[in-house]
């Protein structure tokens, strides 16, 4: 069963059409990676699914039409982490993770003991509980991503929308964060939709890729079907070689032509 079903979603920003009737779907507990060149509409699609942009077409999460949900109802199903977060530097990690309980609280009510427990569990899960008292401003890039994921997990969403979760991280921390996301997916049954710049990582972690170009779906399917030299060189205007890693995932390597002499 599809956890997310996007059907004919069209978005206009400042009267420019950014997405043209985009449709895609991902099954419950799956990982869908949105790939494509800069300006293809990846972030716009994520924001539309998060309910942050007016759009035409329908988006369903677990058969529920998001158009019928108000803010809090939607936020109980979907957690969204933008690429560049606003992290108040003096807020502590504990306070920040507790903000994830917001969709479960009434307008004027304060978080209760159950909310604190859920926030603490999420912090334990992502191994940030040990520095719950630290200020956000003092965290490293890798710690910051874990803390943000903990906040998203405290939200208890069915779907996790991640915009470039590995940007600003070194390769080791990129893999660490991607493994954590994969773990959430497997052990908590969360469905993940993320944008990813690194095509090899997309093929290694996401079971399903959607290649966007100029606001349209150019290709969709298993990594091996989408990550072909033809398609990538055409859509990205890039020179690449596609090989296969020992686990069978396509590996996309940039290639430099020898300079003409």
């Amino acid at each position: 069963m599809n956890a997310i079903q996007v059907s004919g979603v069209t978005v206009e920003l400042d009267r420019v059409r950014v997405l043209h009737a985009v449709s895609c779907a991902v099954s419950s507990g799956g990982w869908l990676a949105l790939i494509g060149p800069n300006g293809a509409g990846k972030t716009t699609l994520l924001r539309a699914v998060a309910g942050l942009l007016p759009h035409r077409g329908t988006i369903r999460v677990d058969q529920t039409d998001l158009g019928a949900l108000r803010g809090r109802g939607r936020a109980r199903l979907i957690a969204y982490l933008p690429q560049v977060p606003v992290l108040p530097p003096d807020l502590t990690v504990g306070e920040y993770v507790l903000l994830g309980r917001t969709p479960h609280l009434g307008y004027l009510s304060a978080p209760g003991r159950a909310d604190r427990r859920k926030a603490a569990e999420a912090s334990e899960w992502l191994d940030v509980a040990r520095f719950a008292g630290r200020r956000l401003g003092s965290l490293s890039g890798g710690e910051r991503q874990r803390v943000r994921l903990a906040r998203a997990l405290a939200q208890e969403p069915r779907v996790l929308l991640l915009d470039e979760p590995t940007s600003d991280l070194d390769i080791g921390h990129q893999q660490q964060v991607l493994e954590l996301i994969d773990d959430l997916r497997h052990r908590r049954g969360v469905t993940v939709v993320s944008t990813l710049h690194d095509l090899t990582q997309a093929s290694q972690y996401a079971g399903h890729l959607v290649l966007l170009a100029a606001g349209r779906v150019e290709a969709a399917g298993l990594p091996a079907a989408v990550l072909t030299e033809d398609l990538i060189s055409r859509v990205y205007a890039a020179r690449v070689t596609v090989t296969t890693d020992p686990a069978g995932h396509p590996v996309v390597t940039p290639r430099r032509e020898p300079p003409a002499t």
Partner: protein, 344 residues
């Protein structure tokens, strides 16, 4: 630097310190002044007013009148004004995610100044009694104009702040023009602009009490919503809240709080910036703590400032706005410098 900034008072201690500060400021202010009241007798007379406590006091009827009809109403008004300005400042800072915003911004001070000036200049003998109402209405009108001009199509907080600056400059220009045409009122207008609690009465306190109670209650209830806003509009919306709606409600409540204060005190600057900053340093940035602690600390701060204003050059008085600025400016510079040190 980082470690000291990270160290905070536990909430219970922070409340304890704030309450103790307010009580101490109140007692000092009740005991100090032109009329030399006997401290023991004064404390006894005060304690006698606490329900179920009966203490004989040697204060004579004149001293009692000084205490209960002059000092206490003035302290009460100072508590209300200080609390209102600080809560409004903290609320605005949360709404705009900007620590430099004050309770007088968004055209509030300029509107109040224009209202008071118009009342003094054009209403003649009825002027002085109309000043509070005119300042109250002018302050609210200033914020309303700024909000309506700045809140176009869900634009960001910067637009709103800039609209506030523009409206403030415009209203101040009108006020300056009116004043320049009737220089005989200069003295009266300026003494109002600089702020004073010298005319404080129980009646004044009673008049602003309903507005104060409603506005403070609304702002305090929105502490958690302001915490959510601190992660930015985009993520606040993704968490299921409505930043625009929260902003409108809190701005309206802060405007009402600031207008109530301005009506009885004139323009008093710096309280709305300095107090929430000090509170943040002690208790951290969560508005669920910053708002109530600013209320208590601001009240105590203004009681002390007013005590200085009426005693330093006694029997004359300093304008309280001058006292808060004299204390506030150095504190503010210190805050800026230490914040800059952390950022670099």
């Amino acid at each position: 630097m980082t470690s000291t900034r990270g160290r905070r008072l536990r909430p219970v201690w922070a409340y304890g310190v704030a309450v103790a500060f307010l009580v101490a400021a109140t007692l000092v202010s009740a005991l100090v002044g032109a009329a030399d009241l006997n401290p023991v007798a004064t404390l006894a007379a005060l304690a006698d007013r606490i329900p179920f406590v009966h203490l004989p006091s040697s204060l004579d009827s004149l001293d009692r009148a000084v205490l209960f009809e002059i000092r206490l109403p003035r302290i009460t008004v100072a508590i209300m004004v200080g609390g209102l300005l600080s809560v409004a400042g903290a609320g605005y800072q949360g709404v705009f995610r900007n620590p430099l915003v004050d309770s007088g911004m968004l055209g509030a001070s300029a509107g109040a100044g224009l209202g008071a000036t118009l009342a003094i200049v054009y209403l003649g003998s009825a002027g002085p009694s109309a000043v509070p109402v005119a300042a109250f209405a002018g302050s609210l009108a200033g914020v309303a104009i700024a909000y309506l001009s700045g809140a176009v199509g869900g634009s960001g907080t910067t637009t709103l702040l800039l609209a506030g600056v523009a409206v403030g400059l415009f209203l101040t220009a009108v006020q300056t023009y009116v004043l320049q045409r009737s220089t005989q009122d200069l003295q009266q207008v300026y003494s109002w602009l600089l702020g004073s609690l010298s005319g404080a009465t129980w009646q004044q306190a009673g008049e602003i009490a309903p507005y104060a109670a409603v506005s403070v209650a609304i702002v305090l209830l929105h502490g958690r919503q302001l915490d959510v806003l601190s992660v930015g509009d985009e993520e606040a919306r993704a968490l299921g809240t409505h930043p625009g709606r929260v902003r409108l409600i809190v701005v309206a409540a802060c405007a009402l709080a600031a207008a109530s204060a301005v009506a009885v005190s004139g323009l008093i600057g710096f309280v709305g910036i300095v107090v929430p900053h000090v509170v943040r340093r002690l208790a951290g940035p969560s508005y669920r703590l910053v708002l109530p602690l600013s209320l208590l600390t601001g009240a105590g701060f203004l009681v002390l400032a007013d005590t200085l204003a009426r005693t330093v050059v006694s029997p004359a008085e300093l304008p309280i706005g001058v006292v808060t600025a004299l204390v506030g400016s150095p504190v503010f510079v210190w805050i800026l410098r230490s914040t800059a040190a952390v950022r670099t």
